[in-house]
Amino acid sequence: MTLSDLARPWRPFSYGFLDASAKREIRRKLVKAIAVPGCQIPYASREVPIARGWGTGGLQVTCTLVTPGDTVKVIDQGADDSVNAASIRRFLARVSGAATTLDTTEATLIQSRHRVPEERLHAGQTLILQVPNPEPLRPVMPDMSIARQMHADADYGRLWLVLYEQMVRTGRVMLGAAYPSLVNGRHVMTPSPIPRWDVPKLHMADHLTILSAGREKRIFAVPPHTRVEPLVFDDVPYRVEEHGSLTCHKSGLRGYFMNELPQPDGTALHEVSDSHLGEKAIRRAEGEDVRIAETWYRNGELAP
C-alpha cells in the first residue's frame, strides 16, 4: 500500500467548493441556530466566488448541506430565471453534481432571495433564505454590539415604538418587507426581506428555514413547528399586501403575490411572482398533466 492509494486524488477545490473546516463550522453554527430559534449566530463566513451581497450567506449554507442526492432550486424575487438565480444554480450544479429543478415540489434544498414559494413546503425540505441585513434592530440601533445586548435583554421597546409612531402618523404600520417577527416567543428576527405575504408561511411550518447573511456573518433559523409571530398590537391586525384579488395576466392565476408591471398607457398589469407556479398553471391550461401542490393561500386568503 502506498500513500497515493490512501490519499484521495487531487482536486482543485473540495466537494461543494467549501473546504471541510468551513463546512464543519457552518454545521456547528446551524445546530446552534436551530437550537435557539431566531437567535443570530455569528460565523466566519468565507469568501465564495460570487460577490458579497449577492447570496454568499445562502450559498455557503447550501454548499454545506448539498449532497449528490439533493435536488436544488434557486429563486430570486420568486423567479427561477432571474440572472443571479441562474448564476447561483449553475454554480451549485457545477460544484456539487446535485440535480437542479424549477419545481418547488421536487426540490430538497431551496435557496431563495426574498420569497417563500407559494406551494406549501413539506417536512424534509429546507428553505435557505439569503439575508442582506440580519438585524431587525438596525433601523433603531445601527451599532451591532449594542443591538446584540438588546437581544440578550429581549429589549424590543424601540421596535414597538416605531410601529406605534407609524400608526399615529399614517394610520397603519408602514413596514414593508422584512417585517420583524418574534420567533418561539423569545427572539425578534427579520424574516429577510420577504414580503409580509410570506411571513405567515414560516409560522408552525413543516419545513426548516435557514436564514444566512454572508456579508454580515450571521446565521439564524426557524425550525419546523416553531411560532413566528409578526410584531403587532392586539387591536391592530397584521396585514399582508393587498394582492389577494389581483390576477396574473399571463397564467390567469389569482390570489397570489404579484409583480406589478407598469404599462406605457399609465395602467399596470400583474404577473404571479412565483414564476414556476405561473408556468405550471399555463402548461396545465394547455392540457399538460401538471401537478400544482396545495398552496399556503387559497382564494387570496391564508389557508388554515
Binding site: 473540495s14 467548493f17 467549501l18 473546504d19 473546516s21 468551513a22 463550522e25 455569528p42 460565523y43 466566519a44 463566513s45 468565507r46 469568501e47 465564495v48 466566488p49 460577490a51 458579497r52 451581497g53 449577492w54 454568499t56 420568486g78 430565471d81 432571474s82 440572472v83 438565480a85 441562474a86 448564476s87 432571495r113 426574498h114 442582506p132 441585513n133 438596525r138 433601523p139 445601527p142 451599532d143 451591532m144 454590539s145 449594542i146 402618523r169 399614517t170 394610520g171 397603519r172 408602514m174 413596514l175 414593508g176 418587507a177 422584512a178 426581506p193 420577504i194 414580503p195 409580509r196 405575504w197 403575490f257 409583480n259 406589478e260 411572482s273 414564476s275 408556468e279 399555463i282 394547455e286
Partner: protein, 363 residues
C-alpha cells in the same frame, strides 16, 4: 408557452460576461508578467487587501478583471479561502526585518538614521508626455552609497520605552497556533487585538484613507505624529515537520507606528501593518488604531465603524448588489404607501398629504 420562452437568464449572463471580456482580449502569461513587473504598487495594494502574498496571482487577477481592483480582490479572496492553513510562521519584530526604508517624523535623527529608501515623496510630479512621443523613460541608475546601509534598524519605540516616555506593550500570552484568525472566525466587538490588526491589514486602502483623513482633520481625538514608517522584507520562518526552523522566503511588509503626545501616561501608539509596500494605507490605518480607544459609538474613528466599513470585499459587494432586482421589496413598500394614501383620502376627502417615508433597512 410564452412564459417559458421569456426565460433567457442563463444565455444573457453568459453573453454579458463575453461582452466584458471582449474588451480585454487574450490574457496570456506575458501580459501577467508585464503587470507584475510594471505595476508593483498596484500589485502590492491588491496583495495586501486580498491578504494573500502571491505576486503572480495578484497580477493574474488584475489581468483577468481588466484592472477592476474590487473584482480582482474577490477573485483572490475566493481562491485564498479554499487553501489550507498549513502553519503559523514565527513572529516578526520590526527591528529584525530587512529594512529598505525607515523614517521618523518625531525626531530630526534617530538611532540607526533616517533611511529614505525608494520613494516618490520628493519627485516633481510632472507627467512624462515625451513617452507618448516615442521617447522611452529609462530610469537613471542608482549611485550606490560609499558604505552599505545596515540591513536592520532598531525600533524607535524601544528607545522611547527606555526613556520612560512610552509604556511597554502588555502582550497577551497566547500560543502561536492559537492566535485568533479573522478568516476562520467572525469579527465581534470589542474586537480582539489580533482581529483588529488583521482587519486593518486587509482593509480597503481608499476606505482607510477616507476615515483616517477624517480623524486627521479633527473627527478623531488624537493627532498623529509618524513615529516610524518602515518598508521592509520579513523572513517567513516556518518549521519543517522534523522540527528544523527555516526561512521559506521573504515577504515585503509595510508598518506604520503613529504616536500622540496627548495622554496621561506619556506617549500612546497606533499601529498598522500590511503585506506589500503601501504607505498611505498603514499611516491611515495606524491613525485609526490610535484614535479607536474611547471613541464615541458611531463616530468615524470608532472601532466597529471603521472595521465594518473598510472591508473592501464586503463593502464593494454590497454596493454592487443594489443592481440586483428589488421589485418584491419595492412592491411590498408600495402596497403600504398606497394604502396609507387611501386612508388619508378617506379621512380628509382629498388625496391628503403624502405619508412620511419610513427608513427602510438595507435590503
Amino acid at each position: 408557452m410564452a412564459y417559458v420562452a421569456t426565460r433567457g437568464g442563463e444565455r444573457a449572463i453568459e453573453q454579458a460576461e463575453r461582452l466584458y471580456r471582449a474588451r480585454m482580449g487574450t490574457i496570456d502569461a506575458a501580459r501577467v508578467a508585464e503587470i507584475e513587473a510594471a505595476l508593483p504598487a498596484l500589485v502590492d495594494r491588491v496583495m495586501g487587501e486580498a491578504s494573500l502574498y502571491a505576486r503572480d496571482l495578484a497580477a493574474l487577477a488584475l489581468a483577468q478583471t481588466g484592472g477592476d481592483i474590487y473584482e480582482a480582490l474577490l477573485l483572490l479572496r475566493a481562491w485564498r479561502t479554499t487553501q489550507p492553513r498549513l502553519q503559523v510562521a514565527e513572529p516578526i519584530a520590526p527591528d529584525g526585518t530587512f529594512t529598505h526604508r525607515r523614517i521618523s517624523a518625531a525626531f530630526k535623527d534617530i538611532p540607526g538614521g533616517q533611511i529614505l529608501g525608494p520613494t516618490l515623496d520628493y519627485a516633481h510630479r510632472l507627467l512624462a508626455t515625451e513617452v507618448l512621443d516615442g521617447m522611452p523613460h529609462v530610469p537613471p541608475p542608482v549611485t550606490p552609497a560609499e558604505a552599505p546601509c545596515h540591513a536592520t534598524h532598531p525600533s524607535l519605540a524601544a528607545w522611547q520605552q527606555a526613556q520612560g516616555l512610552l509604556q511597554p506593550p502588555d502582550p497577551v500570552a497566547v500560543d502561536r497556533n492559537e492566535i485568533p484568525d479573522l478568516t476562520r472566525e467572525p469579527l465581534l466587538f470589542p474586537a480582539k487585538r489580533a482581529h483588529s490588526l488583521q482587519s486593518l491589514a486587509r482593509a480597503d486602502t481608499g476606505g482607510l484613507l477616507s476615515l483616517g483623513y477624517s480623524a486627521m482633520r479633527g473627527y478623531g481625538n488624537a493627532h498623529p505624529t509618524v513615529n516610524e514608517l518602515r518598508l521592509s522584507e520579513a523572513e517567513l520562518r516556518v518549521a519543517h515537520p522534523n522540527g528544523t526552523v527555516f526561512s521559506a522566503g521573504r515577504v515585503p511588509v509595510s508598518q506604520a507606528e503613529v504616536v500622540t503626545t496627548r495622554g496621561k501616561d506619556g506617549l500612546r501608539l497606533g499601529f498598522c501593518a500590511t503585506l506589500g509596500w503601501n504607505e498611505i494605507k498603514v499611516i491611515a490605518g495606524a491613525t485609526l488604531d490610535l484614535n479607536a480607544p474611547g471613541a464615541a459609538k458611531g463616530s468615524p474613528v470608532e472601532q466597529e465603524f471603521v472595521l465594518y466599513h473598510t472591508e473592501p470585499v464586503e463593502a464593494s459587494g454590497f454596493c454592487i448588489h443594489f443592481k440586483l432586482p428589488h421589485y418584491v421589496t419595492f412592491q411590498s413598500a408600495l402596497d403600504n404607501l398606497r394604502a396609507a394614501r387611501a386612508n388619508a383620502a378617506e379621512a380628509w376627502g382629498a388625496p391628503g398629504p403624502a405619508p412620511v417615508p419610513q427608513e427602510e433597512p438595507a435590503e
